[in-house]
Amino acid sequence: MALYIVATHGQALPKFSLHRAFKGKRLPQTEQRGQWKSRAGFILAASGSAIGLGNIVFFSANAYKFGGGAFYLPYLFALFAIGIPVMMLEFGLGNITARAFPGSLHRLAGKRGEFAGWWAVVNGCFLTMYYITILSWVLGMLVGSVGELWKPSTAVPAFGFEEGDLSNPVAYFFHMLSTWKPLLFVAIIWLLNVLIVRKGVESIEPVTKVFVPLMWIFMVVLIVRGLTLPNGGQGVFLLFTPNFSVMKDPAVWQGAFSQIFFTLSLGIGTMTAYASYLPKKSDLTQNSIITSLLNCGFEYIAGLAIFSILFAFAIVPQASTLSMTFFIVPQGIGAMPAGVTVFGIVFFALLLMAGLTSSVSLVETVISPLRDKFGWSRKRIVTVAAIVGFAGSACFALPHVINPGLEDDGTLGLTLLDLIDHWVFSYGLLIVGLSECLLIGWLVGPEKIRNHLNSNSSLKLGYWFDFLLKYAIPAMILFVLGYSLWNEFTGGLYGMGFSENYSEEYRFMRFSPPVILTVWFVSCVFFALILTWKGEYADAE
């Protein structure tokens, strides 16, 4: 195994900073950067990063929301028109430069590019923190699914629910939130992440090689169980039967474009970080296609499992990852005639594995660029990231656990998570996606990325790739962003609708939606600026 990556390439290169990427200079820190041991290892890690909680529970619920089978048409269009090309771009960025997202954009597009890259990393930090909080709840449900979770519903006095008000899993979830347990689970999940990323790809690869195939096996188990339930097969008809009247609704197209961006983990820098550990002569085009298809294929089969269970027990899906994960699917599992505990464990173990393979990639997305730029040791960065990350994740869970009686506003955690998720996911990722397409499309030149992708690929990209990066994808992202902003302004700022629910004593909480928006935006800009202008890359000229 090559211990370092030498950026060599035989092509005559045009002007601009891309020249520096190709001219054969040995990149710094590559000796410590590591490299994937096998192509399969990389594909499993990349697809494991893309396949997360949302793939298992959210996609099919989103399809249900937007016209069932009719949603697959804009979804497949978005996959090929946006998803795979941006995946190729992000793989290309990492592979050309052997750097993570900010470093690769710095090398190709200078400080402006680096700023966009750090924006993505800071935005990704928020995402990592609350994603791990959600994962800690999944761990809590997994522990509970051994027995407690499926017992008859009990009262949850902390939330004002009496016995029988809620189904068992929902009552268990709310009861868990009113205790200190989530804090412990957050610590465990962070510890697992630290253990997996401690040696970079060297320790990530073996874990994903076990987890990702297991995820597929567990999903097949759930599909078989779902389809063998009475009328379970009818759920598949429900999922795929189209209602084409939705096609004229812009919200459906917005939903499909957003879904593709989120499901493939684009606009975070994860794929660039992972691709930076690939050997120079890698078939990036094929790798992008395989990763994207595996991710979307997993979503496809997950829909079969989820909808067969929901139909069999007449449960209405909700297009929300949290609702589907903690309330709706567990309700279906709890209603199964036999094997509730086994299938409950399978479901939550599947979610935990999918979440872990995603969260380690998120953590690596933060660690990798800091190492590239500041040359800190991995051990040091991992330690700092884990401490800061734990504190952040605890903030998303803490209000529930510091005050079990909920004499104060005990829903702050959920509200905080929900609000930050809205801005990070609905805007943050898309802003990054738009920025990288504009930077490469208009400043660097898409043909340069295409040439690099084609140099080692068995599948050659044509001029259509340039067109997509330069015009089509920015236009589609602008449409989604514009449509979302329009809804924000006409329908009111996200979260403001809940302001009536706050008691007089906690009336100040009604300002939380604009405050959270400001904190998120200012943090992204501030830290991106600091990280862009502080220090220089060791090989900078």
Partner: protein, 156 residues
């Protein structure tokens, strides 16, 4: 409503979105269907009961097909006759929520709902077509690409 419950309402609204309410109604058995799984375009008898288990006459009953989706559609079914019964012919397959509303003892409006799965009468051709096309693209596409990946020379 106590302060605490008001705040609880926030998270319930955000994350449960009515699931709990529907679940309770079903558990109490206010709306009973002749068949657990009615079939599309096949008539089925509905019986509306109050919380004491007595039939409700004159309840307004409606159905929402595909609740919680952008294509959800609510249609009236009719009023329950003596014995709390009425006939319903589902006009769409899939998940549907049946809601019954009547005036209670204190002249307050009482509303109860339940969710049912309506079977497809025959396999939907358009649905199967989309399932096959998406499956071919995503699953068969993945298998072919992975097969090629395994045959291609590795990094070293």
């Amino acid at each position: 409503m106590p302060t605490r419950n008001k705040t609880v309402l926030l998270c319930v609204t955000m994350f449960l979105a009515g699931t709990v309410v529907a679940g309770n109604a079903q558990a109490e058995g206010n709306i009973i269907l002749e068949k657990t799984f009615p079939t599309h375009q096949e008539e089925v008898r509905i019986q509306v009961m109050d919380d004491r288990g007595l039939p409700v006459t004159g309840a307004n009953v409606s159905v929402t097909y595909r609740p919680g989706s952008s294509v959800s559609e609510t249609n009236p079914i009719g009023r329950s006759a003596a014995g709390g019964t009425l006939q319903w012919t589902p006009t769409a397959a899939g998940i549907a929520t049946i809601t019954a509303t009547w005036l209670g003892l204190g002249q307050d409006e009482v509303s109860r709902s339940t969710t049912v799965s309506v079977r497809f009468r025959t396999a939907p051709i358009d649905g199967i077509f989309i399932m096959i096309v998406a499956g071919l693209v995503l699953i068969v596409g993945s298998v072919i690409r992975v097969y090629k990946l395994l045959r291609a020379p590795d990094f070293n």
